[in-house]
Structure formats: structure tokens, C-alpha cells
């Protein structure tokens, strides 16, 4: 039973039920007419005598306590009667309250027979004498007698019990008679599917009492006011009379929402549209196949929205008893109610609820995962919040007007429509949408939210189901498109896809490495020779034309150039879309050749060559880099080109998955690195030969070198004449090719490969490092943290009689089925006691912080701590034993089967130094460690204690 209030409306189509027509008009302004009256749930019927009505018509009426109410001119006399009625009602209410405080309501009901309102009579009755008219006492409804108002999803029942207006009847003052010409309305049985409230058992008896034929007929208020309800044109005022309906809490809220929306619309000059269905997300649509109450007169949806509507029998739920209503009046009223119920729009199903439209913005993207306002055409599936982690409630989102940094203006901008011509749907309800990471629109970088975004947080506070802050992607990852896969070197026909391709690829890689070695050796010798020849001491010792012409260094340089003809392919990187690591070397070699040639022919007297050994050294570093790369790729390929299963390490970019994995552990966006067992690694060669970090900037560097060379050559020409131009230009080009450009990509990868090779891991080049480097979380299994050999068995205490080799083998199977760190422990025990194969375990599951349970055949085994046994009703030894074991730095592991604890294993976990070292480095780098745990002994504190880093709050 909810809270109801009275509401007066002028619009008949908005009124759910004309319970009874009060003979006075109500203000037309709908906003001002809402008058809550508390928790009253029953309406009352009042009656006036004809004298009172005529007295009111004469103008002798008391002042209205609430002031003048605007009304229509043709209803002024009606208003006079209404005001008098209102005064009488208030007076009676006060009297009744005082009387109720003195006597129980039941006693008052017995002493005061009720007066029921009858259908309008055609002729006016004789008004009784004013002196003989007793004061009308209105008995407030007893709350205990009020039937329960049906809940929203249920079919409507009789919402209110008929209010009993009990008037102390003098012997000559008849309370009420039926119209003699109208047949008595038969007692209509209640519909069987809609149970009638069990209350008011005295009502029919009292009604019979009120129908005593000898009692003088007394006109009801409706009858007395009927002349005033008809205007000059014969049109009754009942059609336009104010309605008096009951509203549920939802309607009250909806009314408040509508009022607030209108205020917003007036303030900002826009059009708002209220979505009433969205404010009732908990009211599901009635299913066609669901058992529906037999209610042919009204639609179920309309009934649900108006619980106080008339039933099939035409009952109003107030004071009009069906037995007292005239058949014609009842039929007419039923017809009216049916028409209203039919004209009322049917409630929409959740699928029919329109989606709110909002302009996508940065805050909308930051709202996480939950909203996709830019995709109106996507199917929207209402779901519960707990169904899936990717299903989240949508909330009002700001428009494009919201900019980062306008935190103080977000509250007003977020309701400003992007296009004033389009209405805005406002809803206070939550709608659940499924968001897929791939469907999210990329957030423009310029509108990405700043670190603290007040709008999203304020919206989250306003929402009851405010989720934690949604994961936020790094701007560079959102804005930048995925780069095209690097081209495969020409030496390889195709990338490695299967183990059958391993042999030719390995041969090619080995050939490449061998070629690099063979090229490195002569380069090393020639470079050393040139450096020696270019030294001042050696050059001064040389005499003759060799020194004057500088022939020797120049000849050696030419020889090196012939050995490295493929270097000139580096100039292809100047073309757009092409990348080549040899561009700096090519530029430097070109500069050296220009410099040496110009000196040889233009300044033979000053032909001291010093750029030739520099270019040779540059080629030497290039060969070293090539050799490093070939060696790294070959070693990495040897690790992956195996038929055995291996673990591919990659970054999980699926937002729902990463959000579920890093729930509350990472404040922002999460890119989780995780391993996955696989047989073959794809795209290995493409990643391995991808350009390094500096290679992507080679073109810009080369252009800078060319421009600088031109400028410098002009300066040199101004100073030394035309003969100094070309040497200066060549020297400027050669300066742009230091060895750093050649070792930038190769040297760090080589050092990393050497280290990873000791762990049996590989990292496919600089591009792969760029992929893995972006992760901010890494997921490990607890078996990876404590691999085989990390758990030692210190002691085993037999608790039951079922401990045997078979039981231990079954325990090993259960532990192996879920990947527990205890697997190796059990396997070692089984290997020492029995040599049988492990049985097959199924339904193995890990109960959080308890342990493992699984079935092996018809036997269920439990491996865990004491709490696991207690949770399954298995008796465990004394808890002091556990305390003693824990105090010694060990952990108790219970093995139970057949409903009894069979063994207690005292184990000790030993963290491997390499694991601890790498995890500490990982945490120091800012990467969050996620552990997929299946061991109750391994907790956050335990891992942090063993590894030496602090847990995440």
C-alpha cells in the first residue's frame, strides 16, 4: 500500500476516474492545484440539504478558508454550494476526530447509519426543514478497514473502501431513498479473479438499513446540485467538472518531474518531453501469456497505472456502492470509464521505451563503458544491473557544449539541447544498455576529460546505482588508429604460421645472420685501415701523391660502398609511407663521398680525408646493428618454433573483461597483460623486423640534414668560396648519421633478449615492446606465482581411515584440475607411493578463501582450510592446531572425503627469488599485479609479504 494523495484535475481525459463530482469547480492551473493531504486514502461523500444549497445560493456563505478560487461564471452557484459543503466537511471532520478520539470507530459506525449517494434524480425533492436537519458528521476512514491497494504489477483491485458518511438520523429525517422509478441495482458479484476486500462487512447491512421504504426520501448532494450542473445549452457541467482521482507514488513523482521539466523548459526556452514509462522501470509489462485477471472493460496497463479505477462492475472505489447505483447511471458510468481506459495510451513494454538521446561527448565516453549515446540505432536490451558487468545504467549526459575545464558550467550546459528544434527526453529512470568495447566511439582527444571531472562524479552521486569510476582509456590509444602491420622482409616468403614453416624460416634467419657476420668482418678491417690512414701522424708520414690526393681513404671508402650497396635503398624511406633503417647511413655515406670527392678534385692540397673513416665507422655500426637484429630474431624464433605448447603473452583490450579483472584495483583505464596457451605464435617476423623508435623519424631527420647542409654550405661558400661549398655540405650530411641512429633499436632489444632468454621467453623486437609496454596490469595464476617446487610438504597428519594412495591420487587430480599450487605436492606424494595414473576429476571448483572441491567418480573431495570443512559440515580438528601451524610460518591444508577429514598437510610456501625479483620490478614500474587465485592460503597479504610489495587498497 503506497502513499496516495488527492489531486484535482480539469482535464477529463487525464482523470482516471470520476469518483464523484464535487459541486464546485477547481482551479484550472494544474501546477497550483496539487494539494497533498497526507496519508488519507479514503475519499468521503458529503451531502447538503436543499435549504443549505438555497441558502448558499442566496449569497450567505462563509468565507472560504483557502481564499478565492478562480472559477467559471456559470458555476458560481455551484461554487457556493461547494464552499458550504467544504465548510461542513471540515467541521464534521473536526467533530469526528474528536469523537473518534473518545470512542472507537466501530461504535460510531454502529450508532450512525451511513448515507450513501444515489444516482441523480430527475425531480427535485422537498428540502427538509433546516431545524430538523441534523449536523452531518463525517467519519474519517479507519485505516484498519481500508483494503490494501494493489501493488503496481498486480491487477487493480478495489483501492479504497467506501467512505462512510454517517449522519445521526432523527426519526423523521430519512437518510436516503432510492429513486422510485429506477429499479434497484442488483447486487453484482465481484469478479472471481479480483478478490474483493474483506473489509466493511457492515456496509451492506447499513445499506439495507438506509433503504427503508418508510423513510422519507432525501436527496443527495448530487441530486441537489443537478440543476446547477446544467448550463443554458443543456450541457451538463459534469463532463468538464473537475475530477478527483487517487494517485500512486509513481504518479506523484511523475507529476513532480513534469513540473520540474516545465520549469526547466521555461527557464531555458526549450521543449521537454517527459517519458512516463521510463520512470517506472520496475513495472514490467504484462506478458500476454501470463495469467491475467478477467477484466474486459479495461486494459491491464491502464489499470496498473490507475489502481483506483472502476472495476468491471462499475464500482468507483469510493462511496458508491454498486447495489445503490442505478442501472442506467452505472451503465453510463461504466461506459465513461471504459472510454477513458481505451483512450489512455497503453503502457509500453521495456523494449518499446525510447532511448534517451544525447550528444556524444567526452564525458559520455568517460561515463564508462556504460553509455553509447551516439548509437541510437543500436538495439537496447533492458537488463538487470547484476546480469552482466558490461550492463550499466545510463545516466544523463552532457552535450557538446561541455568542454573540459568548464566544471562550473556543466550543470547548466548538460541540459542544453544541441538543437533546439529537437525535443529532449528527460527521464529519471535508469535504462540498461549493453556496451561493447568495439562499438564505443573514439573519444576526441581535445575533449577528453581532465583528471577530476565534476560532472561525471555528480551524476554518479545522483544515481542510486552509481558504479565506480568507469575505466578510461589512455588518450593516445584512443585517438591513434591501429598502425598497419609492418611489411615482411623480402628474404621471407611468408610469416611463420605453423611448425612446418620453421625450417625454411630458420634457414633464412641463419643465412641473414651469417651474411651480417661476413659483411661485418671486412667492414671492420677497412674501417680500421681508414682510421689509421687518416690519423695525422700516419698521413704526415705518407709522401707523394698518396698523401696529396688522399687516394687511399677514398679508395677504401669506395670499396666499403661496394660492399654495402643495399645501403642506398635507405633513400626509399624519403618516400611517403616507406620506412628504412638505412636512411641515416645512406645520408652519411653520401655526405662522405661528396666531401671526399670534392676534396680530391677541388682542393688536392688539403685533401686530408677525415670523413671517409667516419663513414666507414658508420657502416660498421650499421653492420653491428644488423648482426644484433639477426641474432635476436634467430634466438627468439628458436623459442617459438617448437611443436610444444607455449604461452602467448599479450594485452587484453576487451573493456568488460579488463574491468572485471581489475575491479577496484586500478583507478583508471586498464590494459591487462595476460598469457594464453597456444601452439603457434603468429606475426612473429613482422614484429621482429618492424622499424625501431628512431626509424619512424628518419625521414624528418634526413630532411633536416639536407636543409642544414644547404645552409651550412652557403655559409662556408660565403667564407671560403665555391670550393668550400661541397665539402661543407658533405660534412653536414655526415654529421647526421652518428652510430646512435643505428643502435637505437638494436641494442636495447638485444639486451632484453639476452635476459628473457634465461627465462625461456622472447620479445619480438621494438614494436612488440611498444605493445607490451602499454599495459598497466598483469594477470598471473597462483600456480605461476608458486610454480612446481615452491610448496613443500613439512608434515602430514592422518585424521581418517580413508587415506590411501588412491585418495592422494584423487586429491592430485582435483588439484590439477583447477591448477592449484598444491598439484605438484600431491603429484610428488603419489609418485613416491604409487605409480598409477591420475584419475579424472570433474566439477572442480574453487570456493573463495575456502579451498577446492571436486568429484572423482562417486567421491567428493575437499582440499582447503578449516572453514571449507565447516562450510560443508565436516568436523575438523581443534583450531589450536591451526594456530600452531600458522605461528610457525606454515599453512594447514585439510584433505577431506567421504564426509570426514582424512588428512592434515602442513605445507610451506617458498617464493622463488626470480619471481620475487621480477614482481618487485614490475610493481616498481607501476604495473598492478592481478592474481587468479585458487588457493585459500594465498592471500593478498601473503603475496605481498612474500614478494615485498604493498597491496592495493
Amino acid at each position: 500500500m503506497g502513499l496516495f494523495k488527492r489531486k484535482y484535475r480539469n482535464a477529463p481525459e487525464d482523470a482516471g476516474l470520476l469518483d464523484f463530482n464535487l459541486p464546485f469547480a477547481f482551479p484550472e492551473d494544474e501546477d497550483e492545484e496539487v494539494t497533498p493531504i497526507g496519508k488519507r486514502q479514503v475519499q468521503s461523500t458529503y451531502a447538503l440539504t436543499a435549504e443549505e444549497v438555497s441558502h448558499a445560493q442566496a449569497g450567505d456563505r462563509p468565507a472560504h478558508p483557502t481564499g478565492e478560487i478562480p472559477m467559471q461564471a456559470e458555476q458560481q452557484n455551484l461554487h457556493a454550494a461547494g464552499e458550504l459543503l467544504y465548510q461542513r466537511m471540515m467541521q464534521d471532520r473536526r467533530q469526528t476526530q474528536g469523537k473518534t478520539a473518545e470512542a472507537p470507530p466501530e461504535e460510531a459506525a454502529e450508532t450512525l447509519p451511513p448515507i450513501l449517494v444515489a444516482p441523480p434524480e430527475p425531480e427535485m425533492p422537498e428540502p427538509p426543514a433546516p431545524a430538523a436537519q441534523p449536523p452531518i458528521k463525517v467519519e474519517p476512514p479507519v485505516k484498519a478497514e481500508t483494503p490494501a491497494i494493489p501493488a503496481q504489477p498486480e491487477p487493480p483491485k478495489e483501492p479504497e473502501a467506501p467512505a462512510k458518511v454517517k449522519v445521526p438520523q432523527p426519526p423523521k429525517a430519512p437518510a436516503k431513498v432510492e429513486a422510485p422509478q429506477q429499479p434497484k441495482a442488483p447486487e453484482k458479484p465481484e469478479p472471481p479473479q479480483r478478490p474483493e476486500p474483506q473489509k466493511q462487512p457492515e456496509a451492506p447491512a447499513k445499506a439495507e438499513t438506509a433503504k427503508q421504504p418508510e423513510a422519507p426520501a432525501r436527496k443527495s448532494l448530487l441530486d441537489l446540485c443537478k440543476p446547477f450542473l446544467t448550463d443554458e445549452n443543456g450541457r451538463t457541467a459534469g463532463a468538464n467538472a473537475p475530477d478527483y482521482i487517487l494517485e500512486s507514488v509513481d504518479e506523484i513523482i511523475l507529476s513532480a518531474e513534469r513540473k520540474a521539466a516545465e520549469n526547466v523548459a521555461k527557464r531555458y526556452g526549450m521543449t521537454l518531453k517527459i517519458d512516463p514509462a521510463a520512470s517506472r522501470p520496475t513495472a514490467p509489462a504484462a506478458k500476454p501469456d501470463a495469467p491475467q485477471p478477467a477484466k474486459p472493460a479495461a486494459k491491464p496497463t491502464a489499470e496498473r497505472r490507475q489502481p483506483s479505477r472502476p472495476t468491471e462492475a462499475g464500482r468507483t472505489g469510493t462511496s458508491l456502492a454498486p447495489s445503490r447505483m442505478g442501472s442506467a447511471a452505472a451503465a453510463a458510468k461504466r461506459q465513461i470509464l471504459q472510454n477513458r481506459a481505451q483512450t489512455r495510451p497503453a503502457a509500453r513494454t521495456p523494449d518499446e521505451i525510447p532511448m534517451r538521446r544525447a550528444t556524444p561527448s567526452a564525458n559520455a565516453v568517460r561515463e564508462a563503458v556504460r553509455e553509447n549515446p551516439a548509437r541510437d540505432d543500436r538495439p537496447v536490451t533492458p537488463k538487470r544491473e547484476t546480469e552482466a558487468p558490461q550492463t550499466v545504467p545510463s545516466r544523463p549526459t552532457p552535450t557538446n557544449d561541455a568542454r573540459p575545464g568548464d566544471a562550473g558550467q556543466q550543470s547548466t550546459r548538460q541540459f542544453r539541447p544541441a538543437d533546439k528544434a529537437d525535443p529532449i527526453d528527460i527521464s529519471s529512470g535508469k535504462k540498461y544498455i549493453d556496451v561493447h568495447a568495439a562499438d564505443l566511439p573514439p573519444a576526441p582527444e581535445e575533449v577528453m576529460p581532465r583528471k577530476s571531472a565534476p560532472p561525471a562524479r555528480s551524476q554518479a552521486k545522483n544515481n542510486d546505482a552509481a558504479l565506480p569510476q568507469a575505466p578510461r582509456r589512455a588518450p593516445e590509444r584512443e585517438a591513434k588508429p591501429q598502425p598497419a602491420p609492418p611489411a615482411l622482409p623480402r628474404e621471407f616468403e611468408a610469416d611463420y604460421t605453423s611448425y612446418a614453416d620453421a625450417k625454411p624460416i630458420r634457414h633464412t634467419l641463419f643465412t641473414q645472420k651469417r651474411r651480417a657476420v661476413f659483411r661485418l668482418l671486412p667492414t671492420l678491417l677497412l674501417t680500421a685501415a681508414m682510421i689509421v690512414c687518416s690519423l695525422p701522424a700516419v698521413s704526415n708520414a705518407c709522401t707523394g701523391w698518396l698523401h696529396a690526393k688522399g687516394v687511399v681513404p677514398f679508395a677504401l671508402l669506395l670499396l666499403l660502398t661496394l660492399l654495402h650497396l643495399d645501403v642506398w635503398k635507405g633513400f626509399a624511406a624519403l618516400l611517403p609511407g616507406r620506412q628504412n633503417a638505412d636512411l641515416p647511413v645512406a645520408v652519411g655515406l653520401l655526405g662522405a663521398l661528396i666531401h671526399e670527392t670534392s676534396l680530391l678534385f677541388l682542393q688536392p692540397e688539403n685533401a686530408l680525408s677525415f670523413l671517409a673513416p667516419a663513414a666507414a665507422f658508420c657502416l660498421l655500426c650499421r653492420d653491428v646493428g644488423r648482426l644484433m637484429q639477426a641474432s635476436v630474431v634467430l634466438e627468439n624464433f628458436k623459442q617459438i618454433a617448437t611443436p610444444q605448447e607455449k604461452t602467448a603473452f599479450f594485452a587484453i583490450d576487451d573493456r568488460p573483461v579488463t574491468y572485471a579483472m581489475t575491479h577496484d584495483s586500478i583507478p583508471g583505464d586498464a590494459l591487462v597483460a595476460s598469457g594464453r596457451r597456444t601452439t603457434q605464435i603468429l606475426d612473429f617476423l613482422r614484429r621482429s623486423f618492424a622499424p625501431g623508435p628512431l626509424e619512424t623519424k628518419n625521414r624528418a631527420v634526413a630532411l633536416l640534414a639536407l636543409i642544414a647542409g644547404v645552409v651550412i654550405s652557403l655559409l662556408a661558400g660565403l667564407r671560403g668560396g665555391i670550393a668550400a661549398v661541397l665539402p661543407a655540405f658533405g660534412a653536414a650530411l655526415c654529421l647526421t648519421a652518428p652510430p646512435t641512429a643505428l643502435l637505437t633499436g638494436a641494442l636495447p632489444v638485444k639486451l632484453a633478449a639476452d635476459r628473457l632468454g634465461r627465462y625461456g621467453a622472447m620479445l619480438a623486437g621494438s614494436a612488440a615492446a611498444a605493445e607490451v609496454e602499454q599495459v598497466n596490469a598483469a594477470a598471473f595464476t597462483v600456480q605461476e606465482l608458486f610454480p612446481a617446487g615452491s610448496v613443500r610438504l613439512l608434515n602430514m597428519k592422518i585424521l581418517g581411515t580413508a587415506v590411501s594412495d588412491e585418495t592422494l591420487a584423487q586429491a592430485a587430480a582435483v588439484a590439477q584440475g583447477i591448477g592449484s599450487p598444491l598439484t605438484d605436492l600431491f603429484l610428488r606424494i603419489v609418485d613416491t607411493r604409487a605409480d598409477a595414473a591420475l584419475p579424472k576429476a570433474d566439477s572442480v571448483k574453487y570456493e573463495d578463501r575456502l579451498g577446492i572441491s571436486g568429484w572423482v567418480g562417486e567421491r567428493r573431495l575437499f582440499i582447503g582450510n578449516r572453514t571449507l570443512l565447516e562450510a560443508h559440515g565436516i568436523a575438523a580438528p581443534s583450531v589450536e592446531l591451526d594456530h600452531k601451524i600458522l605461528h610457525n610460518g606454515c599453512f594447514p591444508v585439510y584433505l577431506a572425503c567421504d564426509g570426514k577429514a582424512q588428512a592434515l598437510l602442513i605445507v610451506k610456501y617458498e617464493a622463488r627469488p626470480d619471481v620475487t625479483y621480477e614482481l618487485c620490478r614490475l610493481c616498481n614500474a607501476g604495473v598492478t599485479v592481478l592474481v587468479n587465485n585458487c588457493d585459500p592460503n594465498v592471500t593478498d597479504e601473503m603475496i605481498c609479504d612474500y614478494s615485498g610489495f604493498t597491496p592495493t587498497a
Binding site: S534, P536, L608, F610, T647, A648, F649, F650, A660, M661, H663, A673, G675, R676, R677, T678, T679, Q680, L682, R687, P693, L694, K697, A708, L715, R719, G720, A724, A731, A732, L735, T736, P738, P739, T740, L743, L747, P748, L751, R755, Y759, G760, A761, L763, A764, S766, A767, A768, A769, V772, A778, F780, E784, P787, V915, E918, L922, A925, V927, N932
Partner: protein, 100 residues
Amino acid sequence: MNSAASDMHLQATRPVEQLSAPAAYQSGSAAAPAAIINAAIRVRRAGAVMTALHIVCLCLALALYAYLCFSGIPLTLPMLGGYWLVALLIACLVPCLNRP
């Protein structure tokens, strides 16, 4: 991780026939994947530092050479060798100091 995340993680770690991945390992210990991430971070960091140093040194060298040409001082082999030696040391020291 909670149970749902654990299921997702297990589902994500289900063996597959082929997978495109930037890194791989064969050992069953957490040291290998942790070392991969550490190496990737340091490779990336070293590459970025070396690239920045290279560009800075390049610009300084060109500016110095422009000054020498404008001043009439010829560029000699010791000058060029000294510049390259400094660049080479930087190139080698950066990854060695930030060892993967």
C-alpha cells in the same frame, strides 16, 4: 580478481591453435611474463631516450659545424671523432644503465 573475472581470465587463457602475440614464454613461472613486461618497459624507455638524445646531439652538431664554417675554422677529424664518440657512449650507456 573475483570469480567472474577469474572465469573470464580462464576463458581468455584457454589454449588456442594460433595466436598473434608480441611475446611468448614457455616456463610456468611468473618470472617470465613479469620479465617480459619489465623488458618491454625498459626497451621502450631506452629507445625513447636514445632517440631524443640523438636528435639533440644532431642539432647541436649541426649548429656547431655551422658556427665553425662561419668562423672559418675547418672541421677536423678529432672534432668529428669526439662528437661521434660522445654519441656512441650515450647510445651504449642508456640501455646499459636502464638494463632490461
